[in-house]
Symmetry: C2
Subunit: 229 residues, 2 copies
């Protein structure tokens, strides 16, 4: 018996991160066989306009593409929507208002998990690309909760994300990502958010010296909770 709403996924930002999100949805659903899993419709669309370029004012907005993807997924049967890309949440209202179905907000899910940490961190480090930092996508929610933000080395993080998007998830990339996390902790971050879906492809809590909130994992939990009938 199906106990789930059909999940629609605005994906492809990037494709490997979307595959990671799907694998974790399946692994965390609690299903003991296929028939207990949720149905998931995915639009893995790598042609959504570049979030960094749009945020920097030198490229078109991703909003219309995200809205079209949301409408397409709902037309195909999606009953709730989720988007495993942090930076794209700068245009989340375009996607969320394009249809009448609930949209599970990745940023809200991750911020809620940070705010629930005991003890609550006074400052949180963000492993995030420029579009996420400059869009203040996490700043709003964290600062509203009285938590300061420590930003990562942008150029360093972007270089690693580009390597991961090109398929390199090897040990050198992983070690460099660990160094970015250690740098955040060294500058006062009492917890760190993997605020880019490529980050957890090479970094897990075991390699981070402070509590580690993986926003992809937060979205998996929030999505499965919202999808349960």
């Amino acid at each position: 018996m199906n106990r789930w709403r059909t999940i629609g996924v605005l994906g492809g930002m990037g494709p490997a991160a979307t595959a990671d999100f799907l694998a974790r949805l399946a692994a965390n659903s609690g299903a003991v066989d296929d028939s207990e899993q949720p149905r998931v419709l995915i639009d893995s669309n790598p042609y959504v306009p570049d979030r960094n370029a749009a945020r920097a004012g030198v490229g078109e907005s991703p909003g219309p593409a995200l809205a079209a993807m949301a409408r397409g997924l709902v037309a195909a049967g999606a009953e709730i929507l989720a988007m495993p890309c942090n930076a794209a949440h700068g245009w989340v209202l375009d996607a969320a208002t394009a249809t009448i179905v609930p949209f599970v907000d990745m940023i809200a899910a991750a911020v809620a998990e940070v705010a629930a940490l005991q003890p609550r961190p006074r400052a949180v480090g963000l492993l995030a690309v420029a579009a996420t930092l400059d869009g203040r996508i996490y700043h709003h929610g964290l600062e509203a909760a009285g938590i300061a933000v420590v930003e990562c080395d942008r150029a360093g993080l972007q270089g690693l994300v580009s390597l991961i998007k090109a398929g390199d998830t090897g040990v050198e990339v992983a070690i460099a990502m660990q160094a970015l996390a250690a740098d955040l902790a060294g500058r006062g971050a009492e917890a760190i958010i993997a605020a880019c879906t490529e980050v957890p492809l090479v970094l897990t809590a075991a390699e981070v010296p402070v509590p580690f909130i993986d926003a992809t994992a937060s979205l998996v939990r929030a999505t499965l909770l919202a999808a349960r009938i």
Copy 2:
């Protein structure tokens, strides 16, 4: 510039195998950034009627569900279709004739790679569930190529597939899968096909004593080739 046809995926059989297929499409596309990746629309539908039950004559046919999924994917924009589930290929004609777009056949892709092995194996072992064996899904193509079939221990394989579908991809499952492969080699298999998409979630060529054809990898290659404009 998009150099790809939009790929539609009939998935969810099971969901983790579909995530594995997506990850491998992204990893093998040759793309150096998102914009060079193909767009992929996925219907991860775990409610397709059970293939083993249908083949055993005790459950409804998966054909109509697969046909509906194919039509839905094409309506959403898919320009070629692929289905990362071996057993479901027993009803591939239902899916392939439901729309006018090309359907990339996983079985044909894997058999072609087996037939191209040098030296060509005289007998090939199948790590496959009952629906795939009893449907003679691989037997037809292999026997037409003059290659004999060695069938795996069905109960043993099904038990492992069920564990993997329940999320267990641990070392004990992996070792048991290696033993099934070794048993096939011991009974004359000169190559082995991972003819179930759960198999490569725990088994790679490095653990198999003879040439190993991973049908999921074959489908990835054939799909990317067919999708290239």
